[in-house]
């Protein structure tokens, strides 16, 4: 068989099969020896080296497969996936505010404050790169401690965590005082 014809046949086979194809199977289809098939594959590789080619051959053990060139993935991404735009929902923002002001904080602590499971928000914030794991708390189960990232500081224009005005503790104290006063008045003290 002529080389060009064999190249075309091999290309068609690899294209149609999608998966990897054993060289021995290729040889059978082309009715030639494995050595000749090897030469055909080499010729194809050479052809795909050209700048105007978007595919290449991957060699796997005794098989070959067609695949797209890695450097063209950006184009594939543009057409194949319409990724969701990241968005800070109220739920996610709420979780972020707790982490920002109470860090380092565990998921369980966040959930006590919010009163709801917060897996989703925490995962989302990690994906967005706004929070990170800071280590593990020295407590039963050694839960993960979360805190904000440098990206968080940049995005919210804060120099450091210390710069964050912390209403948390004060507020909690305030609640306690309020409650104690009420209790006292009820008891008639």
């Amino acid at each position: 068989m002529e080389l060009k014809q064999a190249m075309a046949a091999t290309e068609a086979i690899l294209f149609a099969m999608g998966d990897s194809v054993e060289i021995s199977d290729l040889s059978k289809a082309l009715e030639m020896g494995d050595d000749d098939t090897g030469r055909v594959i080499a010729a194809l590789e050479n052809k795909y080296d050209s700048e105007d080619s978007g595919i290449r051959i991957v060699r796997l053990d005794k098989a070959v497969q067609l695949t797209t060139k890695t450097e063209l993935y950006d184009y594939l991404i543009k057409i194949a996936s319409a990724p969701q735009k990241p968005k800070l929902t109220d739920t996610v923002l709420e979780t972020l505010s707790i982490i920002a002001y109470k860090q380092p904080v565990t998921k369980a602590e966040i959930e006590v404050i919010r009163g709801v499971n917060s897996d989703f928000s925490v995962d989302r914030l990690i994906t967005y790169g706004l929070i990170q794991e800071l280590g593990r708390k020295d407590a039963p189960g050694r839960p993960i401690l979360f805190g904000t990232t440098e990206q968080f500081l940049r995005s919210f224009g804060v120099k450091s965590i210390a710069d964050l005005p912390a209403p948390g503790e004060e507020k909690l104290e305030e609640f306690k005082t309020q409650a104690e006063e009420e209790a006292d008045s009820k008891l008639g003290i």
Partner: protein, 287 residues
């Protein structure tokens, strides 16, 4: 003249007609309608007990052929321009149209044979493309939110947490809203009505304080009216609501339980309703 053909050989009456025209070597524009009709009917008769749907379609064509045959015997109709109208014209048009599509279906079939030698490929995106996560545009993500926004949210969250479970207040046990005692309210209304068998709703309400009390009294009045103990009358909108006892015996024998059973259930519903928004608030994390 028997026609040695099977029903399956034809797609329908038009197909059969085309076949008859073909084997008789007839000019399609000058169909000898008598011959063709006879042959056609003979064929349909031979179809016998074939599928009723198919047969009926063949029968419709038979009727059409007979109709044309009759028209051929009459003086020809004239069109707007005074030309003779051939009763076969419509059939001829139909036959030609059908013949065209039949021919086209053969042409298509050929195309299909050629096209079937092509292999297509399934979508196979590289893993990196499938798993791609777009870089985050933080300006867009954060938008107009500032540290102050976060702080306000945080305070809101704390306040809500505080409202939900107050760690200190909760030590004093449950603080519950005082429920209206349905039983005593029924007794009150009962006593009032026994003393004032003819009264009006406003007088009855004079001693009631809260909105809840008024509502409960109103419900009791409705129940009394429904059971035929009292009669209520109002002459005009917003006018005086006259209440008169019509069955004093029944009123006297009325037990509190008839009301409180209902009342307790009402109370439970009220509690559930007031709690629901809280439950929603504490629902699962979404969006």
């Amino acid at each position: 003249m028997a026609i040695p053909v099977k029903l399956q050989a034809f797609e329908g009456p038009l197909d059969l007609l085309l076949h008859l025209i073909d084997i008789n070597k007839i000019d399609i524009y000058d169909i000898p309608i008598v011959t063709i009709t006879d042959q056609y009917l003979e064929y349909v008769r031979d179809m016998g007990e074939a599928d009723m749907n198919v047969t009926s379609e063949f029968m419709v064509m038979a009727a059409t052929l007979l109709d044309i045959k009759c028209k051929m015997l009459l003086p020809p109709e004239k069109d707007e321009e005074g030309n003779d109208v051939d009763p076969r014209d419509e059939l001829v048009e139909k036959l030609l149209e059908y013949k065209t599509y039949k021919y086209m279906s053969y042409a298509l079939s050929e195309r299909e044979k050629d096209a079937s030698f092509n292999y297509y490929r399934e979508r196979r995106l590289p893993k990196e493309v499938q798993e791609f996560v777009p870089p985050i545009d933080y300006d867009e993500l954060i938008g107009t939110k500032t540290l102050l926004t976060l702080q306000n949210i945080y305070q809101d969250v704390l306040q809500r947490a505080d409202d939900r479970v107050d760690p200190i207040r909760s030590k004093f046990g449950n603080i519950e809203k005082e429920a209206i005692d349905m039983g005593s309210k029924v007794l009150f209304v009962k006593a009032y009505l026994i003393h004032n068998p003819k009264t009006d709703f406003r007088s009855l309400l004079e001693e009631q304080k809260s909105k809840e009390e008024i509502i409960v009294t109103f419900l009791i009045m409705l129940e009394l009216m429904k059971t035929g103990v009292i009669h209520i009358e109002q002459d005009e909108t917003f006018g005086r609501i006259n209440v008169s006892v019509i069955d004093t015996e029944k009123l006297k024998n009325m037990s509190i339980g008839e009301f409180t059973g209902e009342a307790e259930r009402d109370e439970e519903q009220n509690i559930q309703e007031t709690q629901e928004p809280l439950l929603n608030d504490g629902g699962t994390d979404g969006t």
